[in-house]
């Protein structure tokens, strides 16, 4: 999952980036409103953490412009202005959630997971696909009750496919969402990880759609 963090305070930005990366997300960071707007407008993010008080362009304006341009990724506002009128202004501008500063990283992560899950249409933190069961909160994966050990890259790949199960996900889309901007998009790393994942799962849940990409089977049980 690829997250954009737009926060002007360098230290806080660094901490958020580190915390999110530790949780298995791919993170792009921006320090002002204009750059943040440009990135959110051009790159496919699974969620955005957006500070309201930003230089160059404030967070509310950035968000309004994204929504006007049809950019519908879930956005979590980060605000030190914790009056409800400020929060309502953010939500009305198109934000999906808010976190007031100072915050616990765990709370940001929990809310972010819920946001991404909701955006993908999953009500529960547990996603089930046939014999496969993934708890997005604890990153626990089991097949028929047997717990699997996955690397962070493998978990991210599986998580993305599960969040979009039943849909064809192209290789390019996977690269865009699982790696940051600097990743070499021509490498065949994705094929390698899909192969490893299939082997670890032991069940044939990931289909290859020739010429288009991959599809996780949409099976409840």
């Amino acid at each position: 999952m690829r997250i954009l963090v737009v926060e002007d305070d360098k230290d806080l930005n660094r901490q958020l980036k580190a915390g999110l990366e530790d949780a298995g997300y791919v993170v792009d960071a921006s320090h002002d409103g204009e750059e943040g707007h440009y990135l959110g407008d051009t790159e496919p993010y699974d969620a955005v953490i957006l500070d309201i008080g930003l230089p160059m362009m404030d967070g509310i304006s950035v968000l309004e412009k994204w929504r006007r341009n049809g950019r519908l990724m879930p956005v979590m506002m980060l605000t030190a202005r914790d009056r409800w009128s400020d929060k309502v202004a953010g939500i009305d501008a198109g934000a999906d959630d808010y976190v007031a500063k100072p915050f616990h990283m765990e709370e940001v992560l929990a809310r972010l997971r819920a946001l991404i899950r909701r955006a993908a249409g999953h009500a529960s933190s547990e996603i089930i696909c046939g014999p496969l069961r993934v708890d997005t909160t604890s990153a626990r994966v089991d097949v028929n009750g047997e717990v699997l050990k996955l690397t962070s890259h493998e978990f991210r790949l599986l998580s993305y496919l599960l969040h979009h199960k039943g849909k064809v996900v192209s290789r390019t889309e996977l690269v865009e969402h699982l790696y940051d901007q600097d990743f070499d998009r021509d490498s065949n790393t994705i094929e390698v990880f899909v192969g490893r994942l299939r082997k670890k799962l032991g069940v044939d849940l990931i289909e290859t759609i020739r010429g288009l990409g991959y599809r996780m089977q949409d099976t409840k049980a």
């Binding site: 305070d9 230290d11 806080l12 901490q15 915390g19 008080g53 030190a80 202005r81 914790d82 009056r83 409800w84 009128s85 400020d86 929060k87 309502v88 939500i91 009305d92 999906d96 959630d97 808010y98 007031a100 500063k101 100072p102 915050f103 616990h104 990283m105 709370e107 909701r118 009500a123």
Partner: protein, 470 residues
């Protein structure tokens, strides 16, 4: 001064503080003084005219007296003067005459029938004769009546034959006539005076009506029914109304500026605090723990004092009115978006209810309560605005309640729940400030906050806030 006396001024002090009473009182006093002066002048003029007429009458009588008398060959006074006035021939009228010798060569004395004794004249040194050889003086007769005497001396033949002629009229008639005139004048002027006072009072009260209207308009602003004084006012009051409107606008600007500055301060403090807190969490040393604990305390203090600053900025401000239903609808929409797994149900009366306060404060109260309800509810959160019926002194209150189907708060813990920074359950995220912020805001608006048990098993929060009178 005793507390009670300071709080309730007496009827008279209140009366004297009334501008209309003062102006009507002063104008009444001036009218009374003017009428007194006018009546004095008129009565004095009237008395002078009466006296002149009286003197002219005496003069005519004196002329008749002189014409009706003479001296005989032996220089004895003789004659029967025919003065046309009957009063000289009636007793106790005070109208008398006499003719006495003024030289030794003349003898005898003539006098009206009822002149008892003599008229004691003052010396000529005291009251000299005028150019017409007449002199006029007042004296009292034997019955104590005030008489006006006109006297002359006439030479009757030879140089040494001189007689003194005197007619006296009763001055009581002048006094009676003057008094009667004064009574009539007093009655007339009293009616005129009362009419003038009434006209003055009406004019003053009518003239002051724009001030009363300005006061009523200001009352509407205070009550939140209007956001400025609405004219038109007379040209004299217009600048005052404009100044008050400018003051109201300035007040709003100050509050807005204070709020923005508080927000800026929050931003300036909380971002570095977030950095410190996050950094300290990664440090597992005792120093890290200390920093984390101290940062937590700083956060609590910042939250508390920022809230105090916000409330202080808005306390006593004027001209705010907020329709309740749209705010509740907006907050429900926001919370439905934030909590798609929860069911928010909202009902409001058909008539429009206006909160006598700021939209931001109402949002703050509802936002904190809904956030709390959403945190604890299993599924359902109900919000209902009731028909306004409560009173708190002069304040009319409307009531709304928010209830959920969560675990609720035991009765003995409810007071603790609205205490600042108290968190009854540490398993859910939060600062513990939500309910205390609500309690503080409600208190600032002289409203009421009650925690109870919902019919659905969870918490029921009932909030009563002042409304714009309907």
């Amino acid at each position: 001064m005793p507390e009670a006396a300071r709080q309730s001024p007496s009827f008279w002090s209140l009366l004297f503080r009334r501008l209309s009473f003062r102006v009507v009182g002063i104008s009444t006093l001036l009218v009374a003084l003017a009428l007194l002066a006018v009546s004095y002048i008129i009565v004095d003029l009237y008395r002078s005219a009466i006296e002149r007429r009286f003197d002219a009458l005496l003069s005519a009588h004196l002329f008749s007296l002189v014409a009706g008398t003479n001296v005989s060959a032996t220089n004895q006074l003789v004659g029967v003067p025919q003065i046309g006035d009957q009063r000289y021939r009636q007793p106790n009228t005070g109208w008398v005459w006499d003719v006495v010798p003024a030289s030794k060569t003349v003898t005898g004395r003539l006098a009206s029938t009822f002149l008892a004794g003599e008229l004691i004249a003052p010396s000529t040194a005291k009251v000299p004769f005028d150019a017409a050889f007449e002199r006029r003086y007042d004296l009292k007769d034997q019955e104590g009546r005030n008489l006006r005497v006109l006297e002359t001396e006439v030479q009757l033949g030879a140089d040494t034959v001189i007689a003194r002629y005197r007619v006296a009229g009763n001055l009581a008639e002048v006094a009676d006539e003057t008094a009667q005139f004064f009574r009539q004048l007093f009655g007339f002027l009293s009616v005129v005076g009362l009419l003038m006072i009434a006209i003055n009072a009406a004019a003053i009260i009518l003239g002051l009506r724009p001030l009363v209207r300005a006061r009523d308009e200001l009352g509407k602003v205070r009550a939140g029914e209007a956001d400025s004084l609405r004219g038109p006012f007379p040209l004299e009051i217009d600048p005052l109304a404009n100044e008050i409107n400018a003051l109201i606008e300035n007040n709003k600007r100050i509050v807005d500026r204070a709020r923005v500055q508080v927000g800026d301060l929050a931003h300036a403090l909380k971002t570095p605090l977030a950095v410190i807190t996050n950094e300290a969490r990664t440090e597992k040393t005792s120093a890290g723990k200390t920093i984390l604990a101290q940062a937590g305390m700083m956060q609590g203090q910042i939250d508390h004092y920022l809230q105090r600053a916000r409330i202080a900025a808005q306390t006593g401000t004027v001209a705010y009115r907020t329709e309740v239903k749209p705010v509740l609808e907006k907050m429900c929409r926001v919370f439905t978006k934030l909590n798609p797994d929860k069911n928010f149900e909202f009902t409001a009366p058909s008539n429009r209810v206006w909160f006598a306060g700021e939209a931001q404060d109402l949002e703050e109260i509802i936002g904190n309560l809904l956030e709390n309800a959403a945190k604890w509810a299993k599924q359902d959160i109900k919000i209902k605005v009731s028909e306004p019926s409560l009173k708190n002194g002069k304040l009319q209150l409307f009531e709304f309640f928010i209830e959920d189907d969560g675990p609720g708060i035991p009765a003995d813990k409810r007071d603790e729940a609205i205490t600042r920074g108290k968190r009854l359950d540490e398993t859910k995220p939060g600062t513990g400030l939500g309910l205390s912020i609500v309690a503080e805001l409600v208190r600032e608006y002289h409203g009421q906050l009650n925690l109870g048990e919902s019919a659905h098993g969870g918490l029921k929060v009932v909030v009563a806030l002042p409304m714009v009178p309907q």
